[in-house]
Subunit: 257 residues, 4 copies
C-alpha cells in the first residue's frame, strides 16, 4: 500500500502571501507549483522550487486559467487552442526556473477551475493533454480520479496519476460534492484521516449518505490555504504511515519504485 | 562575407497588433519572438513560431522587462535575481510553445530597455547571462556589438552573436546615437544599405561627424515596427546578396556552416 | 428628424494603437472612451478626452469586462456586485480624467461582451444600471434599442439613448444578426447609409430576408476599428444631413435641444 | 492638542489578503484606501469603503505607481504627465465607488514609492498636486511633514495635512531613517507612544543620536501590515487620549472643527 501526498504551493504573488509553504512542504511528497497564470511570479517560482528541492519533494507545474484577479477559480471562455497555448507557456516558465535550480519537472496538475472544468469537459481535457504531450511525454498528468481528464490523458498514452481527496465529501457518482453544499468539506482531522485510509487501503470512499463508492487513487491532495494546513498534513502522513502505508513521491507511485 | 538578418516579432498582444510579421519574416533569417513579458501572449507566440518555421527562419526568445504598459521600453528597478527569474520564465514559456511546434530555440536577444541597460551595466548583463547559461548553454546570446552584455556572455563561455544596426547612427565610442538626437535614425533605404555593407564588408561604420569606427557584427537588426519594414528588409537583403554577402541564419554564422 | 453618431474610441493601450481616433472623431457627435478595463490607460484616456473636446464631441464612459487579453469581448463569470464595482471604478477613472480637462461625462455605453450580455440578461443589465444610477442620474445610458439593458435603465428612471447600427444586419426579432453569420456585417457604404436613413426617417430596418422591423433609435454606432472607418463616418454623416437629418450630440437628442 | 490617526487599507487584491482592515479601522480616524494601482480592486474598494463608513472613519484615496507586482514600492520611470493621469484615474475610481456608498472623499495620500519619491522630488510632487487640484480643491493632500510634496501642495493653495510617524526613527534633517538601517523601525509600543506624544504635545522628535528635531504634524500614520497592527493602533489612541489629546478625523484637524 502506497500513496503520494501532494500540495498546491507557490501561490503568492509579489508582496501578497498565501499559504505557508515552508511549514507545509516538509509533510508532502510532491509539490504543484503555480506558474504565473493564476498565481505565482518568477521570483516566487524560484523560491518555491528551492524549498521543494530542499525538502526532497518532487516538483510539478500547476497551470491555471491566466486570471490573477480570479485566482484561476473562474472558467474563462477560452478556445482549446488558447488553453493549450497558455498551459504550454506556464509549464515552460516553471520548467526553465526549475532547470536553473537543477530540478526536473515530474508532473502537471491543472489548477482550480481548469482542473474542475477539465474533469468533466472533454475538449478542455484534451487541450491540456495536448500541451503536456507536446512538451514532454515524461510528464505525469495529475487529474481527478475517475474524471474525463484522466481518460483524456490515458487515451493518448500519457502516464496519469489519479488524485483523491481526504478532506472533501464524495457523491455517489464518484465526483466531489460541490463546495458550498453542506458537508462538502471535512473539517475534522480524524475523519479526514479515516477517509484517506479508506481510499488507500480499501479503495473506496463512503458518501455522507452512506453509499460506498470505489475509488483508485495514486495521490492525495493536501490543501495548503486552510488554517492548520501543515498540522493536518503531518497528521495525515503519520496516520497513513502508522497504518503501514508507504508515503512516497508521485513518480515512484506511477512508475513503480 | 556573411551576415544574419534578425527581426523582433510576435509583439502583438490579444486584440492589439503591432508590426506585420507575415510580410517581414520572409526577408530575415532569424526571429526574436516576444515571450509575454513586454509583449506577446501564448497565442501570439504560437502563431509567430509557426510563421517563422514556415519561412525557415530560426527562432529565439526576446525577453523584456515584464511591463506591458511600457512595452519593455522602461528600465524597471529590479534586482539581478528578479531579472534572472523573469528572463528564465520568459525563455521557458517560448521554449515550450516552440517545442510543441517542433522548433528548437537557437538564441536569446533581450528587448528594449533590458537590451540597452544590459549593454552598459554589468550586473544587469550578468543577470541575463546567468539565466541563459542555467537554461541551456546551447543558446546563443545576441547583444550589441562591443557591449558589456557581449562581454558578460563571453566571460562565462556562452556563444555570442554581435549585433549591429543598418539604420541607426553610431557614436565615435561605438555605441548607438540615442534616439531623439538628430540623425539618430537613418530613414533612407540606400543609406541604410550602405551602412550595412560597410559593417559587413569593411568592418566599420562612419559616424555622422565622419569618424570611422571599427565594428564586428554577426547579425543586423531589421526593425519591424516602422512603416515599410518589410520593403526595407527585402531591399537590405537583396542589396547584401548582390554584393556577394551570404545572408544566413544566426546559428550558421556563429558556429560556422 | 435627428440622430446622434457615436463611436468607440481611446482603445489603444500603452504602445499598442487601435483605430484612428484623430481621423474619426471629426465625423461623429459623441465619443465612448475606453476606461482601462478592456482597453485604454490613463494616458490614452487623457489624450482621447482632449481630442473629443477639440472636435466638440460629447464624451461618455465605455466600460467593459476588465480583460485586456480578451479586449472585453469575452463574457467573464462575474457576479452582479462585481460588475457594478468595476463599472463604477471605470466610470470614475474617466470622470476624473475628463474633469481635469474641463469635460463633463454625458453618457455611459458598455463595451463588447458586456454590452451584448446586458442586452439580453436582466441581472447583468441591472448591475450596470445600478452603477450608473449610484454615480450620477445625469448620465445617459446608451444601450441596444429594444434590449433588456434599455428596459433596465428606464425601469429605474435613467435617461436612456437607444442605439442602432447602420452597418449590421438585423433579425426579425429586432436583435443584431450574430457576427460570423453570412451578411451580418454590411460592408457597402451606400447600403449602410440606406439602412441609417431607414432607421432615422422611417423608424425601421429591413432584415436580409425582407422583413420590416420597427426600430426607434437615438444614436447610430460608427465602428472605428474597420478600415476606412473615418471615410464611412463622413459618408454617413453627409448622407444623413443631405436628407435633412440633424446630426447632433446625444444629450441634445434625449433631452431635446 | 489634537491629531488624526490614519492607516493605509484596502490593499488586498482578488483572492490575496493583506492586513486586517476590520480589526484596524475601529482604532483610526481616517483611512487611505488603495485604488487599484498598486493594490486593491473594485470589489475590495467597495468592501473597504463600507467598512470605513461603518466605523465613522473618513475616506481618502491612496494612489500608487500602477505596479501590482511591485506593490507600488518601486519607482517607475514615468513622466509627470503620466503620473498626473494615473493619479487622476485612481482617485476617480475610488471616488465613484465611494459615491455609490454615499461617502465623499476627504483626502489623497500617495502610496509607497510615490509618496517617498514625491517627498523629495519637485516634479513628481507637482504631478500629484496637479491631479488633485484638477479633480477637486476640496481634497486634502496628505504628505510627509516638511517634505517637498507638502510644499508643492501649499504652493498651489491646496489644503495640506502633514504626516508624522510614531514608529519610524527620524534623522536630524527631519526625514525618516531609511528602512533597512538599524533602528529605523520602532518595534516597542511604549516607545512608539512616547514618540507620538512628543510629536503631538511638544512638536518634535528625538533622533536615535539624541538630536531634537522640530516637527509639525496633523496626522500620524498607523501601519496596517505589521503583526499586531490593531493592538498597536488601539494602544496609541488610548495613550494619546489619556494624555488629553483629541483624536479626530483629518478634515476636522485641518479645517478646524
Amino acid at each position: 500500500m502506497r500513496i503520494d501526498l501532494n500540495c498546491d504551493c507557490g501561490e503568492s504573488f509579489g508582496h501578497w502571501q498565501i499559504g505557508d509553504d515552508p511549514a507545509l512542504l516538509p509533510h508532502v511528497t510532491s509539490a504543484n507549483i503555480a506558474c504565473g497564470g493564476h498565481a505565482g511570479d518568477p521570483s516566487v517560482m524560484t523560491t518555491t522550487v528551492r524549498l521543494a528541492r530542499q525538502h526532497g519533494v518532487v516538483v510539478g507545474a500547476h497551470p491555471g486559467y491566466p486570471d490573477l484577479t480570479g485566482f484561476g477559480r473562474r472558467v474563462l471562455p477560452m478556445s482549446g487552442a488558447e488553453i493549450t497555448a497558455t498551459v504550454l507557456a506556464q509549464i515552460g516558465a516553471l520548467y526553465a526556473v526549475a532547470r536553473s535550480e537543477q530540478v526536473e519537472l515530474t508532473h502537471v496538475k491543472p489548477h482550480g477551475a481548469l482542473y474542475t472544468h477539465a474533469a468533466a469537459t472533454a475538449d478542455v481535457a484534451e487541450a491540456i493533454v495536448r500541451a503536456i504531450a507536446a512538451f514532454s511525454r515524461d510528464l505525469i498528468l495529475v487529474g481527478l480520479a475517475g474524471s474525463v481528464l484522466v481518460e483524456a490523458g490515458q487515451a493518448v498514452g500519457l502516464t496519469v496519476a489519479r488524485e483523491a481527496f481526504a478532506d472533501r465529501a464524495y457523491e455517489a457518482n464518484g465526483l466531489l460534492r460541490a463546495r458550498g453544499l453542506p458537508g462538502a468539506v471535512i473539517e475534522d482531522d480524524q475523519q479526514a484521516l479515516m477517509q484517506a485510509l479508506k481510499i488507500v487501503m480499501a479503495g473506496n470512499v463512503v458518501t455522507p449518505e452512506g453509499v460506498e463508492v470505489p475509488i483508485a487513487a495514486d495521490t492525495l491532495c493536501v490543501h495548503g490555504d486552510t488554517p492548520n494546513a501543515a498540522r493536518r498534513a503531518a497528521f495525515l502522513r503519520s496516520g497513513l504511515q502508522a497504518a503501514g502505508v508507504d508515503v512516497i513521491p508521485l513518480d515512484r507511485i506511477v512508475h513503480g519504485a
